[in-house]
């Protein structure tokens, strides 16, 4: 158990430290790097409690895809100056809304953790049978059978938001030359090159 607790404290200290650095570091790109470190250490914590599927999915989805997009946005847009003004300027208008959101999240956490403490049989009342089956198999057993409706609903919501995002940024540009791959591939020497006998002092007309 000693090694286990050493690893637990190692990962949780890194997670807390990096989440603090996300909001305090001056450079936005560094913030994103710390966010990635945070995701990774949280994923490791998930693996340590035996939820290896969840941990791996956090690594694949959040670190491998979402955080890359974050990095893109932060590197391409110049958000560094905005963040600087948070530290130096006197723009306090953000603080009340931030406070409201964080208090709400704290309340929600209290409700969840409190409910868990208050009602001991919350875990045993769930339909999952906690046995020696690895949790990937367990998820697979209930995801597409009992909870298929919620699963499909979540997928639908994601699809809708994706279509919405594409619609918002879509603009039809006119006068753009598009490449036709079929034309390019099906070019052949016989149609591309033509050999002509040129008479002296006459020249050739191209593209008649």
């Amino acid at each position: 158990m000693l090694a286990h607790s050493i690893f637990f404290y190692f990962f949780s200290v890194i997670a807390i430290f990096s989440s603090l650095m996300v909001i305090t570091s001056r450079s936005t790109v560094n913030s994103v790097f710390f966010l990635i470190l945070d995701f990774i250490s949280v994923g490791c914590l998930f693996i340590m409690v035996g939820a290896e599927f969840l941990g791996m999915i956090i690594l694949i989805v959040y670190v491998g895809a979402v955080a890359v997009l974050f990095l893109f946005v932060v590197m391409m847009l110049n958000v560094a100056e905005q963040k600087q003004s948070w530290f130096i300027g006197r723009q306090t208008s953000h603080i009340p809304s931030g406070l409201i959101v964080s208090i709400l999240i704290l309340l929600e956490l209290l409700v969840v953790v409190g409910g868990w403490k208050y009602k001991d049989n919350l875990m045993s009342s769930s339909t999952l049978s906690l046995s020696n089956i690895p949790n990937t198999h367990q998820l697979g057993l209930v995801m597409y059978t009992e909870h298929i409706l919620y699963f499909q609903l979540a997928g639908m919501i994601l699809l809708l938001s994706m279509i919405g995002a594409i619609l918002l940024t879509f603009r039809q540009r006119t006068g753009v030359k598009k490449q036709s791959y079929i034309k390019q591939i099906s070019r052949e020497p016989s149609s591309a090159v033509e050999i002509k006998e040129v008479e002296f002092n006459k020249g050739v007309k191209i593209d008649e």
Partner: protein, 335 residues
Amino acid sequence: MLEYLQILGNEIYKILFVLIPILVSVAMIVWLDRRVWGLVQKRRGPNVVGPFGLLQTIADALKYIFKEIIIPASANKTVFILAPIVTMTLALVAWAVIPMSEDLILSDINVGILYLFAVSSLGVYGIIMGGWASNSKYPFLGAIRSAAQMVSYEVSIGIIIINVLLCVGSLNLKDIVLAQQNLWFVIPLFPMFVIFFISALAETNRPPFDLPEAEAELVSGYQTEYSGMMYAMFWLGEYANILLMCAMGSILFLGGWLPIIDLYPINLIPAPLWMVLKILFLFFLFALVKAIVPRYRYDQLMRLGWKIFLPFSLFYVVLTASFLFYFEKLPKGNF
């Protein structure tokens, strides 16, 4: 306490037993790559240092070690130094779950294939970090290109893995290999194998998809500002990644350590050797492709990933699932 130290020592011994052969084989594989490339172009390739030029890579590595490391004045120093370390570490860390035979495996975890997928999707960070921290135009363009490319092709690799998992019913790499005892997945899932091979080329930034370092347009892409040992680490990490993709391909499709047919003279060859032979075969294909195929244009690359590979592999998932369901061949899992 002593007990823990003993366990730790034992683990470190095992890890070195995996790491050192990989580093040596990376050196050899670079030589093989250049040699095949040369032979295709009717050159000799490296043949001076050591027998058949085998020690060429070691000579190159020595040269890199003794060169000065130059860090650009306007670069972000920490990230600049971290980038090659990240690339190299991630390329080596993935080998922990690769089974070389039924018991020659460092850590036999339940979600082995997810682990491999996760680590290979983290590989993009080394490149983005290097490109951004260099604080220069060409590296940044190269990094952005390669990040977009790697994220796009990961999607199709993920769906190809789903195809294989449907036939296996387990995420464990050992189970995936053992499920191929009767029939390697390359036969029923041949189109997926082809797409996996091409996506692996794109994922490891190999020609014809080496746009991140397209020397004609971007000098040398994200590696432009790197020199000395740091450049060498990018380079070693890249080749370790290529080897990893070959290992993944041979586990998913070519039956890992299993012999071609389980008959007397053939199954005398030990299991790890079969695995090595399959990895080498896939790498030989990688090297041939590098020598033969010209570089893709960027829009063609994106079109291939999103408009052709993604729909086709999704369609194949449906096909595989319906086939398995209709003939009641779906794996039930062992519990």
